[in-house]
Symmetry: C2
């Protein structure tokens, strides 16, 4: 988006409510619709069941890459492969930031990856700070570290006011993934 205004902001979507990943998908859709090049890197997710992986194929300039496994990561005792994948994802992000080949970079669930200690906040901040002037960065996930909130231009908390699990409804295809 550099060509337009020479400014790229940092957005954080956090909180316990719905809509963090989907809001960043919608943001990516919006940006790609204007011809900007968008990449979402999904941390701690590695599963073709996510509907967005199929839908994004139809949108030029919008891609999603997953650096994770289908299994849940154990917060107290993450496996070596979980750490390796998250770090690989971050290295991929660093390469893209250095290349300047994209206009919007979405690091989906990166806040959780930091909280789970798969990667460090300092590593993420280093990448964010080294971005080309016009690159927009989006950081999503619960538990956004205070350093990300300080760094960000916009921070939105998705706050759960009412949720369906009271009614014992499980995560459903096409909505939660």
């Amino acid at each position: 988006m550099a060509s337009e205004r020479g400014l790229g902001m940092v957005h954080v979507y956090t909180g316990n409510g719905k809509g963090k990943t989907t809001a960043s998908l919608g943001l990516g859709m919006r940006a790609a619709g204007h011809g900007f090049r968008v990449l979402m890197i999904q941390f701690m997710k590695g599963d073709i069941k996510y509907g967005e992986l199929e839908a994004v194929k139809g949108i030029p300039n919008f891609d999603i890459l997953q650096f994770g496994r289908p299994d849940f990561v154990d917060k107290e005792n993450p496996e070596r492969i979980d750490i390796d994948l998250a770090r690989k994802g971050l290295e991929h992000a660093r390469g893209l930031v250095n290349s300047g080949d994209i206009d919007m970079l979405i690091l989906d669930e990166i806040n959780v990856a930091v909280e789970w200690k798969l990667v460090t906040a300092a590593d993420v901040i280093d990448i964010v700070m080294s971005r080309p002037k016009g690159m927009e960065i989006v950081l999503t996930g619960r538990y956004a570290p205070a350093e990300f909130i300080d760094l960000a231009d916009t921070v939105t908390e998705m706050k759960e006011i009412k949720h369906p699990y009271m009614n014992k409804i499980m995560a459903r295809k096409g909505v939660e993934y």
Copy 2:
């Protein structure tokens, strides 16, 4: 989504933060990626500048219709055309709900259209309640009326923690629209 589970929930995205429309776009993207038929009706918007209008063209089974004008609606004194367009949008929604031709219906900014008194909460609730069992409904916008919150299965408040207008940055292409 009826075929999958015979259940369709009602979601509300509200609050003063970013991500209400984009979260519903992402939800639509996710659902369409699984082959569900999604329609977003945008109230109080009628402008090709929105990036999502272009991006959605590439996603099968996902369409966006606008029932509004490019101009802002004056809350205290909406013009006749604003009221007519909003009501037309709602009638279109009613037709779709009755036909059962879609799986997810997103009424974008409907909460604001109710607050602005372009349509009534009762009319919206009537449509929501008459939906086929499997149809998912998403209601977005600030000022969600209490009746919508009562009715909904999930309610998420997008809460602004930090915003860029402090720095006097205007709405930017590819992010805010």
